[in-house]
C-alpha cells in the first residue's frame, strides 16, 4: 500500500454513512468512499480492481434493503479475497457478526458506534491487511530462495552463507524466521554476485 489505505463505507442510512465516513476522513490517514447498497459496494470493489484504485477495508452494514451484509461480504471476497471487512451491526444483531466472522469478516462494530471504537477497528484492519501483504511477499521470496537452494550445491552454499549473515544480524532461529527486508538483502546480494 503505497498511498493512503482506501476504506469503503457501505450503509444504506445516509446519515450513518456520512457520519462514519466523516470520522474516518477527519483523521487524514485514509482515503474514504461510500456506497449505499450491497450491489453498489460490489460494483465499487469491481471497478476499483479495474482502475487500480484498490479498496483495502470495507465497512459493511449487516442489514441492507437490497441484500444482507453477509451476502455482500461473500461477493466482495469472491472478487478480492484480500479485502478486510468490518461488519456494522445493531446491538441485538451482534450474533450475526459471529456468522460474518466465520465467513471471512475480520471484526464488527456495534451501532450507534463510538468514534474511538470505529478508529481502533479500522486501524487494526488496515494493519492486518498490510501484515498479510508483507507476509505474502516474504513467503514468495522464501519460495525463490528454496528454488535457488535446490538448483545446485554451490548455489545452496552461496545463498546459505548470505542468509547466515542476516540470521546473525537479526538473531533469528533460522531463515524462515527472517523478516522480508533481511531476506531481500540476502537475495539481492546473491543475484548481484552471480
Amino acid at each position: 500500500m503505497s498511498e493512503k489505505p482506501h476504506i469503503l463505507v457501505v450503509d444504506d442510512e445516509v446519515d450513518v454513512n456520512n457520519e462514519i465516513s466523516g470520522v474516518i476522513k477527519d483523521t487524514g490517514e485514509f482515503i474514504v468512499s461510500s456506497a449505499f447498497s450491497g450491489s453498489e459496494a460490489i460494483e465499487k470493489v469491481k471497478s476499483g480492481l479495474k482502475n487500480n484504485s484498490f479498496i483495502d477495508v470495507v465497512i459493511l452494514d449487516i442489514r441492507m434493503p437490497d441484500m444482507p451484509g453477509t451476502q455482500a461480504l461473500t461477493e466482495i471476497k469472491k472478487i478480492n479475497k484480500n479485502i478486510e471487512a468490518i461488519m456494522l451491526t445493531a446491538l441485538d444483531d451482534a450474533k450475526l457478526a459471529w456468522k460474518a466472522y466465520q465467513e471471512g469478516a475480520i471484526d464488527y462494530i456495534v451501532k450507534p458506534f463510538r468514534e474511538v471504537d470505529l478508529l481502533f477497528r479500522v486501524r487494526k484492519a488496515v494493519q492486518e491487511r498490510e501484515r498479510k501483504l508483507l507476509e505474502n511477499k516474504r513467503q514468495n521470496l522464501i519460495g525463490q530462495i528454496y528454488d535457488i537452494m535446490l538448483s545446485s550445491k554451490s548455489d545452496m552454499q552461496k545463498i546459505q552463507e548470505l542468509l547466515k549473515e542476516e540470521i546473525d544480524k537479526f538473531g533469528a532461529e533460522n531463515f524462515a524466521g527472517l523478516p522480508y527486508e533481511s531476506l531481500k538483502e540476502a537475495a539481492s546480494k546473491y543475484f548481484n554476485n552471480k
Binding site: A94, D107, F120, R123, N140, Y146, L150, A176
Partner: protein, 188 residues
Amino acid sequence: MNADKKLTVLVIDDEVDVNNEIEQTILETGNYLTKKAFSAEEAYKIVKEQDVDIALLDIRMPDIWGIDALKEIKKLSPDIVVIMLTALGEAKYAWDAATFGAFDYITKPFDQTSLLFRLKKAEDFLSDENQLKEKWDIIDNLRELNHKNPYAATKIWDKLYEETNSAGLNHPLDLSLSKIKNIFENTK
C-alpha cells in the same frame, strides 16, 4: 500449543468482582482454562512460571499503568496475546496499547458477546500462528533432505508447487497442514 489443548486465559484486574465475573463468563464456555491475578506483580509471576496463552489486562491498576504492565508481559513472554480491558472513558488509550503489542481491547462493563468474540479472535490468531510455524518446520526439512537426497527434495518441492497452483493459491504455505504433511510422506 497443540490443537486439542484448551488455551489458558489469565485475567489481570485488581477489582475482585470484575475479575471473578470475567473468569466465570470464560469458564462457562467450557473452551478455556483460566488463571487470575489481582496486581501486575502477581501477573508477572504467573507469566514467568506457568503457561499462559491469552491475557486480559486492565489498563488502570493501583500499582501500575496497564500499558507499562503490557510491555513487561510482552518482554517476559512475547507470544502471549494481550487484550486490554478499559473503562469507556479510557478506550482512547487502546490504540496506544496496540502500538506496544496489544492484540485487542474490551470496554468495561463488558458484554458477554464482545468478550467471547474477542477471545475467539485471539484463539484463531494463535492457532494460525502455530499452524504456520508447524508448516515452516516441515518445509524446512527440505534443506536437510537436499543434502542427503537432492532428487527427492526437488520432487517434493515441485509437488508442493503443483498443488499450490492447481488450488489457485499463492504459496505452498497456503496449503493446509495435512496436505503439506501428506506431500512429504507420499512423494516418492
